[in-house]
Symmetry: C2
Subunit: 474 residues, 2 copies
């Protein structure tokens, strides 16, 4: 029996897609990556048991597999090569249980982040992970890539928001792990192997998420600041004054902020003046009266750092100030000519020097270069768009080397949030030493000895990756 | 050249201890485990390079090694077998850097938790991990065992408090990883392999710890409650009313609390009445005036749950109320006749049923059995002391099977905080499925192919563990 027949036997004919029946959404990331794949077989299992059966079959045949969630990762990790079977978790969207007393949610990997957020809110709880792609990204994808987002400052990365993970290894072994325990030191914590390893060590099928009380207040201030040092000092002082309350600290550098100004009709520009850096601070709390007072008073205590500010206390004002920050990425992407986007993190104290160095080195090659910078300053994570002024993407690698070489110099990470996938694989050595990459390979070899899972993502798997292309019909 | 000569060449004659030069502290845990080891060679490297050289040498010779920190783990993980070289990190105690702006501390593994706490406080910051053994336990040991303690509720386990880990693999390969980055998705997060794996996958040599602002207020309430359900409801309501502020929620069951009463001269008994369960709630904040008001008002809002309470707002009162909780373990240990101690965690909603079942099953065998229970109720983690009334420890295994069989039944963990070590190795299957244990073995085999590191801890390593006892002089 050939592979397609076997897969059909495992998941049903309706759930093995071939040829023209395969939609464009299986071929590439929703945005952010140039890479376009060639999906030839898409398998859509109904549950963990079917995932395990599909993987066992592929393992036996040494058939490469790529796992797909919402395809919002930006690094091409889910983009299929022609020889890969696409394993899509799109049918596994059930929210299986919400435990209100224990504040946990058990969910299948294919549920979207937004489904999870809304289900938690219906029970007076919050799943604090939040990303712009909340409506498309899946919780399995968030886990596999250890997604970050807007509220890492207070609640942590996805890794920190999960109690239990069920995963299927390349050979079809199911690892149960749907614990609800905050404290569990009974042997190795296997979930951390699967979180953030981008589907290369196993397929996450279900998870137990940790929920938080739903905050009752959400206030925001949009501040014009003289520079990054002032922004970091502001953050430090607000965190000390309002411990446990600061839920976001986003920054926009002036060159990116200027993109908002032509939109004055639809987006309210909150400040009169123009400043080197703008910061959006959010606090979340539970005391509508007291929180207002404390927030305003904490901001007043930072008068020496803030040149101008607009405070949002009503939900509509809060939304309007967030809208400024949230419009920036699409405005940058919508500009003329090609741009090169980056997602890096640096020790916060090195950020200003890092950006100055990158700007200087780029300017030596492209005197007209524009750097549009924004991001999650509270975590040292900035998104950088480099517009060289050229009309092609031919010199992409030169830009990348400058950006990543300086990440190495300042002890940063070439990927703060989005992972490595295919896009950053050539640059991994700028963030990780050879001994670390060799150790990753050891783990990959141990858990996926035939190298069938998401091969080539993060690091090249080399000879251990056997391709049986003849089995997959075109 | 024999092993001792080689080790002497690597770390110097003063730092290879043999025979009578080896103190009793290298032979057993400070308390909690019956196991007494036979240290025959102790090596005390000065730095990461020496650790790497010692391990490379032992790997080459297939010489088993056991790593020692403060010996406060309670599960015998550091207790040496006669054929093992003891690798003690006691000389690596430097606090290498405190980055006040970035709120990080870089520290060597052998520093004690208390040294770390005090160094942070001197800079107006806090390292929130806190355990009773703070003066003896080392930060490397806390990392290797993913230590928990009193403030997990708010700040998480040790795993959550660390940004970077430097570790040496069994073959002497050093994995650099002293990142200061909150967000770093550049490939596998290797530090989570070493955290909580009890020294079986590598030796943690240095770490970058994440510090928090030092709280300005610390208030406590000691509450008498009608039962566990009321305690959990109280916790839920206080966390909702004071989000991000509740830093500890400790519980003492009445049978354990009664041990305090004879000490009325030295320990203030905070309550007049007697209740099924007592809870100690702590909040930490930054606003001396507002926090008092909010705390008292939140407690008043829980009048229907709390039968009687004593509130501590002044430091001396806070210390007096904590003293009640902190005296319990030593009072239990100081009782007459043998006791059997446990450190388990359960989903909070199952805790009451779990304890009732264990009590009933034990009582069938020992009608006079006494269960003294206390612990970190906020995390579902309780410490249970079982006193059967017998005068020997002969029937230890019977007690353990009852306690752990019911952990399995209620989906709990046989080790909340202390790890598995030797003590709980026979019971691992009550918390982990065969596929999970097999995966742990795969990882062990990949990273420590000769099985030289902390062999036999967590799970039996079997045939891959080669003992070259003849090399080690008696």
């Amino acid at each position: 029996m050939n592979l397609v027949q076997r897969l059909t036997g495992l998941v049903g004919a309706d759930h093995v897609l071939l040829g023209d029946a395969i939609g464009a959404r299986y071929a590439q990331d929703l945005w952010g990556s140039d890479r376009v794949g060639t999906p030839t077989v898409v398998v859509r299992p109904a549950d963990t048991g079917e995932v395990a059966a599909v993987l066992a079959e592929c393992h036996r045949r040494r058939q490469p597999v790529v796992v797909q969630g919402g395809m919002t990762g930006l690094v091409g990790g889910g983009v299929p090569d022609a020889h890969e079977v696409v394993l899509s978790l799109e049918r596994m969207t059930a929210i299986e249980e919400i435990d209100v007393v224990g504040a946990t949610m058990t969910v299948q990997a294919g549920a979207t982040l937004q489904q999870v957020q809304e289900a938690a809110e219906r029970h007076g709880l919050m799943f604090p992970l939040d990303l712009a792609s909340r409506g498309s990204c899946t919780i399995g994808g968030c886990l596999a890539t250890n997604a970050g987002g807007n509220r890492v400052l207070r609640y942590g990365m996805t890794r920190d928001l999960v109690l239990g993970v069920e995963a299927v290894l390349a050979d079809g072994t199911t690892l149960p792990g749907l614990h609800k325990l905050v404290k569990n030191n009974a042997g190795y914590d296997l979930k951390h192997l699967f979180i953030g390893s981008e589907g290369t060590l196993g397929v996450i099928t279900r998870a137990v998420l940790r929920l938080q009380p739903l905050p009752r207040t959400r206030y925001v201030a949009f501040c014009g600041l003289p520079g990054v040092d002032a922004a970091l000092a502001l953050l430090g002082r607000l965190r000390a004054a309002l411990p446990g309350s600061v839920s976001a600290f986003e920054a926009i550098w002036d060159e990116a902020y200027q993109l908002i100004l032509p939109l004055r009709d639809t987006v309210r520009t909150p400040l009169v003046g123009r400043y080197p850096v703008y910061a959006l601070v959010e606090i979340q709390g539970s005391d509508p009266v007291g929180d207002t007072e404390r927030f305003v008073s904490a901001l007043n205590g930072c008068d020496d750092l803030i040149t101008e500010s607009a405070v949002g206390l009503e939900p509509a004002e809060v939304a309007a100030l967030w809208a400024v920050r949230e419009r920036i990425p699409s405005l940058i992407l919508g500009g003329e000519g090609p741009l090169f986007g980056f997602d890096v993190s640096l020790p916060a104290t090195c950020l200003e020097a890092y950006l100055a160095t990158v700007d200087r080195e780029l300017r030596e090659l492209w005197p007209q270069v524009s750097l549009q910078v924004f991001g999650h300053l509270g975590d040292g994570n900035v998104h950088i768009a480099v517009i060289t002024g050229e009309t092609t993407r031919r010199r992409k690698a030169e830009v990348e080397h400058i950006v990543y070489r300086n990440v190495e110099r300042y002890h940063g990470s070439i990927s703060a949030e989005h992972g490595i996938g295919f896009e950053k694989e050539p640059y991994l050595a700028y963030s990780r030493r050879p001994a670390e990459i060799a150790t990753m390979r050891l783990l990959k070899q141990a858990l996926d000895p035939h190298g069938i899972l998401n091969g080539g993502r993060i690091f090249a798997t080399g000879a251990d990756r056997v391709r049986i292309e003849s089995e997959v019909p075109a």
